[in-house]
């Protein structure tokens, strides 16, 4: 009978979701992944169970992050975002983990440099929530800090949830470090290695050395007998060549003017 069927699905879905929650707590990615397909099916086909299925999907999303699979994370978020938007009502919160998932999605957009989508998503979110919920205010503040260049603030702001660590580890440190290095390269003529290490937040000098060798081949590491080694940045090549005049643009512009003038005359 349909009642029994509905009840059966409900109870089994309940079991699955609670199992998923346990997987998340234990960071057990593999068993979580095997449970996920059933939750996806219920989410899409059984409209009366969507609330429960959404919770399951959220657990799945957290598991994908633990594994580092950003594509799977995007797919799950693409299912969840419209659900949040349609079922918000007055309270603007549907599930317990809603803000966490949205905040993680914002982080993803930020590190993938999809800034227009980042801002478009911010538009839809409720203003008050963004300032009060730590999960949401963290990415927003992060974007501001990256734009202005307040790198020391980035490193010192605490992350609101353990799952943000993924983004911090894999992208943020690298991005921030690259940004700082780029800035250093054009604004300083030379720096002592200890200062360089301190700015780029390297704990030890050998780390700095390996970074320089790997990513910055044009920096010159000069050993100074008797005092500290100095990092010297290659001077900017200021010789102007013929290619720098940018004649192509000017030729094209002049041709445009000529054709337009012919039309008028």
């Amino acid at each position: 009978s349909p009642y029994y069927h509905h009840h059966y699905i409900m109870s089994s879905l309940n079991d699955i979701v609670s199992q998923l929650e346990t997987c998340v707590t234990n960071q057990d990615v593999d068993s979580g992944k095997s449970l996920l397909p059933q939750v996806k099916v219920s989410f899409l086909t059984a409209p009366e169970h969507t609330a429960l299925a959404a919770q399951g999907l959220e657990c799945g999303a957290l598991l994908t992050l633990m594994e580092g699979d950003l594509e799977a994370f995007s797919r799950l978020v693409a299912l969840l975002l419209p659900y949040y938007h349609n079922n918000q009502g007055a309270s603007s919160t549907t599930t317990a983990k809603q803000h966490l998932i949205v905040g993680l999605h914002l982080m993803q957009l930020l590190v993938e440099h999809r800034l227009s989508e980042f801002h478009a998503l911010l538009e839809i979110l409720n203003e008050k929530l963004v300032s009060t919920e730590a999960c949401l205010s963290y990415p927003v503040g992060l974007e501001r800090q990256l734009m202005v260049g307040l790198y020391d603030e980035i490193m010192s702001t605490p992350i609101p949830h353990a799952s943000y660590q993924f983004f911090v580890n894999h992208y943020l440190e690298q991005t921030v470090r690259d940004n700082i290095a780029d800035g250093m390269e054009v604004s300083y003529q030379e720096l002592t290695v200890s200062e360089a290490a301190q700015r780029m937040k390297f704990a030890t000098l050998p780390e700095l050395q390996s970074y320089v060798q790997e990513h910055r081949p044009d920096w010159i590491w000069m050993e100074n007998p008797g005092s500290e080694a100095v990092l010297s940045f290659a001077p900017v090549d200021t010789t102007v060549t013929a290619a720098d005049i940018g004649a192509d643009d000017w030729i094209q512009q002049s041709l445009q003017y000529a054709t337009e003038m012919e039309r008028i005359v």
Binding site: H119, A120, R144, M147, V186, W250, Q253, L255, T259, E260
Partner: protein
Amino acid sequence: MGKDEDKKEDTTMADATKVEEKTEEEAEKEAVVVPPLEAAALRLEKSLGAYQSSEKDASSYSYYSNPAKVVRRWLSTSSGASGQATLEDISQAAQALLDPATTTKLELLVTSTAMTTEDDTTPPTYLKAAAIQVQTWLLSLKARLLWRAKDTTAAVNLCQEGILLIMTTLEQATNSTSASVSSLFPLNARLWRWLALATEEGAVLRVDMAKAHNMALLRRDVDTAATLLNCMLRDLLQNSQVEQAQKLLSNSTFPETASNNQLCRFLYYSGRIQALRLEYTSSYSNLSQSLRKAPTNTALGFRIAAQRLLVVVQLLMGEIPERPVFFTAGMKQELEPYLLITQAVRRGDLAVFTKVVSEQKERLQADETYTLISRLAHQVVKAGLRKLQVSYSRLSLQDVADRLGLASAQQAEFVVAKAVRDGVLDATLHPKEGYVQSHDLVNVYATKEPAEAFHRRIAYCLTTHNDAVRAMRYPPDAYKKQLEASRGNRRRRGGEDKTDEEKAAELEDELDEDY
């Protein structure tokens, strides 16, 4: 009052028909006042009636080759009358003008029971040519009044009935009555607009609007298509669906022959969408165009909204708006918070800027510009750094931090380094001594900057010129007639000259590759 008005109208009609037989004493009768709604309706009847009669007389061209244009012009001239109408006026006009025998759903307009005048000497003259048009016009007026009175369900109902009426008329139209078909287009647009404003069920209406928009494009109904596009954009923006609005924008084209007001609205919505998506340059050009095309004497609310957004976009692009802009007549109070924010940005002090923004937060949220203003943080820093670079050749990092409202010298160092990398300023940092040294200013005329600036202005002037040339429209048929006559002469002489149009078309084909 009703009876008197009916009587007066009958008398006026009687005067008009009996003008040859008028005696002196009738001529001495004082001029009676025709209620403005009915006067307007009678004017339309005259214009459309003239067209219909000339349509049968096919050999002569009438001026009104475009009934939609007639109706549009008439709508603007009768706006005074319609602006002052009350529900009763509408009801009276409906009774007086619309034939109960042929008009469906007359009860929507007529509120009171039929009034009979005792000495009803002449039968009321009903409209023939303009019946449907006037009926839908009166429906739209009534809907507007109801909406203003916050009776939204009734307004929505009226609009839907009106649209249904127009749709059935269009379906039943045959080729011979094509005049009345296109003359309904502007009225259809109006009804859709009031429907979109009055309805509260936005999501359901979106589907209907999209379908109606498609049909309008198929019918070449420029008014309805433009109006519906603007209504859909407005609806999406109000629900903050920026990505969807962008998709709608990219998939649709705004008809070029739509009215100026619709174009202004379209440019405003496009500008807003682009500003939200970080495309500031195109947003700026759209918004300034919208302001330029907006009417100068009316529509103050629209101009304020557009000006507000323009100021914000200018700030986001890194330019400081001019001071007189904030003191335009009628806008001073509305733009005051933006003046404060602009001053904070100019100072370049991040701490002051944050303070001003948090003070004005509610105002900005009400204006829906808060999210845009919050992006200004790095512009503040840029402006501050540029000021410092221009005024000091060497400045200690601690001073930089103080002036920019940053937390420490270390932070100032990072910020300056990033700014140098972004190309905002040209400087070198000396960390040991703790100062930043700016390089000598490069002679700007030695770079490409002036040429670029000139090119932007030249391109704009050329585009305007081309648009103006294309917009010079002669009545195409009249031109062709003359051309045929002259070409006939030339053909006899045996030359093969191309018309100017064809020459221009050739030139355009050649040049299309370059652009």
